[in-house]
């Protein structure tokens, strides 16, 4: 039982990082990015590639993956999404447009990655030793991934809470119109948030590749999980995202170990169902007025 809890929390740490990326994109830039999972897979591919080709550790790879993902996502926002934001007549219209556009992007990316890397599964062995905690042993790579994910999540949280740029971002998240009135360039901040979100998710992908076997088409599963976490935790709520990610990590590990490893999505759906029925505003969200 204790083993399940720890394993679940270790997994949840990485989920939290991925979902934080999505939450930045949806919460600040108002784009429900359904290609988020593909960014994760791209990050994982990059880590895999530098590890197998150059024996570079996936952690060092983060130094390249994160800035690269930032630039790519920033460009995606500026070139593809900003025109949609500008032409949208309502929040609903933007939602439909951005869902379709990011689906398109998602499929295109899967297509490109399959073409570039093939359709097979990929994994590599890195830090496969075990560590004993309270009498059970855990894989080193999971612990390292969790630690780095926590470090990144904490720095992101501090940055958002205590810097001017972070304040601007939170202002846009709360109300783009009011933010515009106090002189904030909403498009610039949105692009920044979108890029940052992509960088965070891609880093999560590089970390998860240390202990997960992935293939080019697995992204949508992660998008799904990240979406469920964001809704469960509440849009724009970092604390909620972290708690929700931990809950999902533990629930998934429990179902996989105790019932059937083929039912992990069912576990996520059960949580999702509970949230939709009882707390659609998220775990810590206030009732909308």
């Amino acid at each position: 039982m204790f083993f399940i809890l720890i394993t679940g929390l270790l997994l949840g740490g990485t989920y939290a990082l991925i979902a934080m990326g999505l939450n930045l994109q949806y919460g600040v830039a108002r784009i429900m990015n359904l290609a988020n999972g593909e960014m994760l897979v791209a990050g994982a591919f990059a880590a895999f590639w530098v590890f197998t080709a150059g024996q570079v550790s996936p952690i060092a790879a983060l130094l390249v993956v994160a800035p690269l993902a930032f630039v790519v996502n920033w460009l995606i926002y500026r070139i593809m999404l900003q025109p949609l934001v500008k032409r949208a007549k309502s929040r609903g219209a933007l939602e439909v447009d951005s869902i379709l556009a990011t689906f398109g992007l998602s499929f295109a990316l899967v297509g490109i990655m399959t073409w570039a890397f093939g359709g097979g599964f990929f994994n590599y062995s890195y830090l496969t030793g075990r560590v004993d905690i309270f009498g059970s042993s855990y894989a080193q790579n999971r612990i390292v991934a969790f630690s780095i994910a926590s470090l990144l999540a904490a720095s992101l949280w501090i940055w958002l809470s205590y810097t001017r740029a972070g304040l601007r971002m939170r202002a846009v998240a709360v109300s783009p119109d009011s933010a515009r009135l106090v002189g904030i360039d909403v498009h610039a901040v949105s692009a920044l948030a979108f890029g940052l979100g992509g960088a965070v998710t891609a880093s999560g992908g590089a970390l998860i590749s240390m202990f997960f076997t992935l293939d080019a088409s697995v992204g949508v599963m992660f998008t799904m999980k990240a979406l469920i976490i964001v809704i469960m935790g509440g849009v724009g709520d970092i604390r909620g995202t972290i708690v929700a990610a931990m809950i999902l990590g533990v629930a998934e590990t429990f179902v996989a170990r105790v019932i059937d490893p083929g039912l992990t999505l069912a576990a996520a759906y059960l949580l999702f169902l509970g949230i939709l029925l009882f707390r659609p505003q998220g775990l810590f969200g206030k009732k909308p007025t």
Binding site: L34, F103, T114, L227, Y269, L276, P280
Partner: protein
């Protein structure tokens, strides 16, 4: 019934009648493509009945479709064939009602996300049940030929067009248009918005399940990973949006070119089908909002023919 209605009805009947003659001419490759087109026509048109006016994008088609194929797979040896589509319709409607009750009271994003994973969820559950009962995939060996399936689908298409035509003229259809425009206004005008959405989603889900039940004999061997393949949901969305959901004939206008293109790509570059799907989505958003119907209406507007 107005003169225009009568003309449309005659045209539609003639087109369907002509389509039904195809198997007399060819029962090979052409019929095979035509069957695929007929299948997507029914699926995309029924998808648009719900998602067109409400702007709620449903990605659940594969879940309903897979459910239907399993009804046939499990029941074809013990039950009479005519009963299977009816059972599939019932189950599809029930599944749609459950999904609708949970998500349709909330905003559109929740609905999209929930339906996005639905097919995969059902697949996992079915696989799990099969593993526990020691069952694997199943063979659907019947005397039903592709020609029979094709005719069934044509009949189904006629039914869906008729239903769509009736809905568009009913208060129900009007209610959905209002909901798609402004849900708050709809509620305060006396429309039970959740009920209206759930009912229409049930119709759309039931149709997809029936199509699944009809198509099952074509696949011969059914297993969860192929029956619930999520790609079907996306193909249906693309075809419906490419054609445009503003008119009843819109989805059909998307189905024909996209099926041909898909067929061509999957023969010549089977690894690029996903890329094609992605580019088609982007094309719709950036170049063809409103699909071919939207384009047709813009052209009509520009050249001021004034027809309605």
């Amino acid at each position: 019934m107005s003169k225009r209605d009568l003309r449309n009805l005659t045209l539609a009947s003639a087109a369907l009648g002509l389509a039904a003659l195809l198997p007399l001419y060819d029962t090979g490759y052409l019929l095979s493509i035509a069957t695929t087109m007929a299948m997507f026509t029914v699926l995309a048109t029924s998808w648009a009945l719900f998602s067109g006016p409400t702007h709620y994008i449903s990605l659940a088609t594969a879940a309903f479709f897979g459910l239907g194929t399993f009804v046939t797979g499990l029941g074809f040896q013990t039950l009479p064939m005519w009963m299977l589509p009816l059972i599939a319709a019932g189950l599809g409607a029930v599944l749609a009602a459950l999904v609708g009750l949970v998500t349709l009271r909330l905003s559109g994003v929740y609905f999209v996300i929930f339906t996005l994973g639905l097919a995969e969820l059902v697949r996992q559950l079915v696989t799990w049940v099969q593993n526990r009962t020691g069952q694997r995939g199943m063979y659907v060996l019947t005397s039903i030929t592709e020609r029979d399936i094709y005719w069934q689908l044509i009949a189904m298409a006629a039914l869906v067009f008729l239903v769509g035509w009736l809905i568009a003229r009913s208060r129900m259809g009007f209610a959905l248009r209002i909901i798609g425009n402004d849900e708050t206004v709809a509620k305060h005008s006396g429309i039970d918005t959740a009920m209206a959405k759930i009912l229409l989603f049930m119709i759309s889900g039931a149709v997809a399940a029936v199509v699944g039940a009809m198509m099952a004999p074509r696949y011969i061997y059914i297993e969860p990973s192929t029956a619930f393949a999520p790609i079907l949901s996306f193909q249906v969305v693309i075809m419906a949006l490419l054609g445009g959901t503003g008119r009843l004939w819109g989805p059909l206008a998307g189905v024909i070119p996209f099926t041909l293109l898909w067929e061509f790509i999957s023969r010549n570059a089977p690894n690029q089908t996903l890329l094609l799907l992605g580019l088609a989505f982007l094309l719709i958003v950036y170049v063809l909002p409103g699909g071919f119907v939207g384009l047709y209406e813009r052209l009509q507007h520009r050249f001021g023919s004034g027809g309605r």
